[in-house]
Amino acid sequence: MTSILTVDDSASIRQAIKIALSGEGHSVVEAGNGAEGVAKADAGAFSLIITDLNMPVMDGLTMIRQLRAKPAHAGVPIIFLTTESDADIKAQAKAAGATGWLTKPFDPEQLVRIVKKVLAS
């Protein structure tokens, strides 16, 4: 069973992700903002992190940068969720160390597929 961390300030999105991925046999841990995300990532071993960008307390980009700065999380794939397919944001996220992205709204199958792909590589 793989552990996946989902970081989003929107409870409904976290829930949708959890339902989709636990249906695939993954265990999903939730965090409500970037700071919580860093703390939970430090506390557990995750095969994948899915994060929103726009969050209170600590935004997704800062979280990705902080995680990438730590050797323990340097290799963990990170997918970010974005509402805008804004090139600028993508460039920033890629520079911060994100592996891929998914545009909201997405359907659960899409998420499952992208997770499969990322976990396989």
């Binding site: 929107s10 409904s12 999105i13 909201k104 709204p105």
Partner: protein, 654 residues
């Protein structure tokens, strides 16, 4: 309702987000330059849009998008958060709320709200918008071919094309050469390619950035079309250029901001009815436990007693924990009134400062819900009747801005909520005239100040000379009083002419379980809520005889009317030789209840009466006793009112 339904979670989330956005917007009126607030509002709108689109609330997402865009510009410093903008977004809130609830929201209304929003944004930002320096637009031929597994991997072509369109006018045509025949087609694979002719002043790198995450796996050819660049008047996006507006120095960090931030935490949302069910079970347990206690008391078995005591302790703890679980901070309720004050200030043309205190005070959820309407009424009254116009205030040597303070604090098993204003106070002369006109008091009769003020709670009593849009229809204070008494609370009013009025509400923490005094009348047993009991005295036979027909007793030099429950309930039995009087009160009024015997205190789990008995006013509910018997719970406020009426009739009869 399923907890596993993200759509339901989203609705709840949308409610919370909108409430938070509203709070932040109202704060913004006081601290227009606060970056943190602007960010918070933007983020709230953004989440609302994103999650809304996710769960099929397209109309909400589309509408919210416009508000978000406006705030994005504020965030970027392109426009200022003017009062007009804040008002426009506040007005749009209700529309968003309706869309989130899935109800029918009028599209025309939505359009009108958006138009107001646009006016608010452009009114501010219009001046600095100059056409962006006409960087020579270049025409690019772009060929895009995604890898076959692109769709499977979560890449979506449409947003990419939309993004290109964001760079400038596009002509898009699909390349369909590689689409296989139907039998060979795998639906999950991407067989299409696109040719795009893009006119933009952005450099090539901007185009490449669009494809940043797929660029390694795809075919992307970008060619400049030589000799083009004629169409310099390509519509420049208004959003692009204007210079930043200076943002005022950040306001001092407020403690409220921290309190809000800590709202997240590890919490579980539970539907209220489940809590009610649990409360019911706890109630049953308390009843079963008191039965066990009786059995144990009559038993010679020491171990049974030990177990019974253990269970008693556990049941008490469980009950206390349960009560705490049902408690929610009153901040939820207070937060709603800031909007009300905003609207009241606008409608009355008065300058109002709204101060809330003790927002962390907790109350039973049900109680909080039932407090909303009375509080709205009281706040309206304070704004409409209490506070004077800025001119009148200035003339009276007061600050132009009136202050309404809403405060809550816990006092023992009660929460005291006060609504205070620093307005003109209640006009005693006018109250007196009204009372005389209504025949409530004889002209010239001496009435104490407190008694005089109590008249405002009389049905149909309004001192407003003109019925305004807001209040003064005379359907108010009596309803407020009844609601508060229905919560087993009490209401008091104090007022200083020229200095303002204060209304205090005392509300019990919870409705589900009360401490009661168990009494016997005839053969029936009844519970009197202990909170209302002032004292118990004996009614001697001679006093009883002396007072026949008059039903008044002297208690420390004051006459207190009393009601013989034996007669009221028509027990048809001779009274006990040593009857007791339980003196109960609500606020200022007192009445004695004559009972046959006082049995002791009793933890009372309130069960409501069936619909058949809805119009029985004497009892507020029933409870089950330790021996399995039933005792009715007396409705003290009703009995006190009845006692006072009886007293008044008696006086009238001379």
């Amino acid at each position: 309702m399923s907890l596993d339904d993200p759509v339901e979670t989203f609705r709840q989330e949308a409610r919370d987000l909108l409430e938070q956005i509203e709070t932040d917007l109202l704060d913004m009126e006081h601290r227009p330059g606060d970056r943190a607030l602007v960010d918070a509002v933007f983020r709230g709108l953004h989440t609302l849009k994103g999650s809304g689109a996710m769960f099929g609330f397209e109309a909400l997402a589309a509408f919210t998008h416009h508000c978000e865009t406006a705030f994005d510009r504020v965030r970027k410093g392109e426009v200022a958060a003017t009062p007009e903008l804040v008002s426009a977004v506040l007005a749009a809130q209700d529309h968003m709320r309706a869309l989130a609830e899935g109800g029918e929201a009028s599209q025309a209304e939505g359009e009108a709200l958006l138009a107001a929003l646009r006016r608010a944004v452009e009114g501010e930002g219009a001046a600095p918008v100059t056409a962006p320096e006409a960087a020579a637009a270049t025409v690019w031929n772009i060929r895009i071919k995604l890898p076959a597994d692109a769709l499977v991997n979560g890449t979506r072509p449409l947003p990419l094309l939309d993004e290109l369109r964001g760079l400038g006018p596009c002509e898009v045509s699909a390349i369909i050469d590689e689409v296989p025949t139907l039998e060979a087609l795998t639906p999950a694979e991407c067989h299409l390619g696109w040719n795009v002719v893009l006119t933009t002043e952005h450099p090539r790198s901007a185009i490449e950035d669009v494809f940043i995450f797929v660029i390694d796996e795809m075919i992307l050819e970008i060619e400049e079309v030589a000799g083009a660049g004629a169409e310099n008047d390509a519509p420049a996006l208004a959003e692009d250029a204007p210079p930043p507006v200076e943002i005022a120095a950040r306001a001092v960090k407020e403690p409220a901001a921290e309190a809000k931030a800590s709202r997240g935490g590890d919490t579980v949302r539970v539907p209220a009815e489940r809590l009610d069910e649990l409360m019911d079970r706890v109630g049953e347990l308390v009843i079963a436990q008191s039965r066990l206690e009786q059995v144990a008391a009559n038993s010679a078995e020491p171990s049974l007693r030990a177990v019974s005591e253990e269970i008693e302790r556990l049941a008490a703890e469980l009950r206390n924990t349960m009560m705490v679980v049902r408690m929610v901070p009153i901040a939820q309720l207070f937060g709603r009134f800031r909007r009300l004050i905003h609207d009241l200030a606008r409608d009355t043309g008065k300058a109002i400062e709204f101060i809330t205190e003790g927002e962390t005070t907790e109350l039973d959820k049900t109680v909080i819900e039932r407090l909303a309407d009375p509080l709205i009424h009281l706040i309206r009254n304070a704004a409409d009747h209490g506070l004077e116009t800025p001119e009148a205030r200035a003339a009276a040597g007061k600050a132009k801005t009136g202050v309404i303070t809403l405060a809550a604090r816990q006092a023992g098993a009660e929460v005291v909520i006060t609504i205070a204003d620093d307005g003109q106070g209640i006009d005693r002369d006018r109250v007196r005239r009204k009372a005389e006109d209504a025949g409530l008091v004889a002209p010239g009769a001496t009435v104490s100040d407190q008694e005089l003020l109590q008249f405002i709670f009389h049905p149909g009593f309004s001192t407003a000379q003109a019925v305004t849009n807001l209040s003064g229809r005379g359907v108010g204070m009596d309803v407020v009083k009844r609601t508060i008494e229905g919560l087993r609370g009490s209401i008091e009013v104090t007022s200083q002419p020229g200095e303002g009025s204060t209304i205090s509400l005392r509300i019990p923490l919870t409705l589900a379980i009360i401490d009661g005094l168990l009494v016997r009348v005839g053969q029936g047993r009844y519970v009197i809520p202990l909170g209302a009991v002032e004292e118990c005295v004996e009614l001697s036979v001679e006093q009883d005889l002396r007072s026949t027909g008059r039903s008044l007793m002297t208690l420390r030099d004051r006459l207190v009317p009393f009601i013989r429950l034996r007669e009221l309930f028509a027990t048809g039995m001779a009274p006990d030789p040593h009857q007791k009087v339980v003196v109960v009160s609500t606020g200022q009024e007192r009445v004695g209840l004559v009972v046959d015997q006082i049995l002791g205190d009793h933890q009372t789990v309130i069960k409501s009466l069936s619909g058949f008995h809805a119009d029985v006013a004497t009892f507020s509910g029933a409870t089950i006793l330790g021996d399995g018997g039933v005792a009715l719970i007396l409705d003290v406020s009703h009995l006190v009112a009845a006692g006072q009426r009886q007293d008044a009739q008696m006086r009238a009869a001379g």
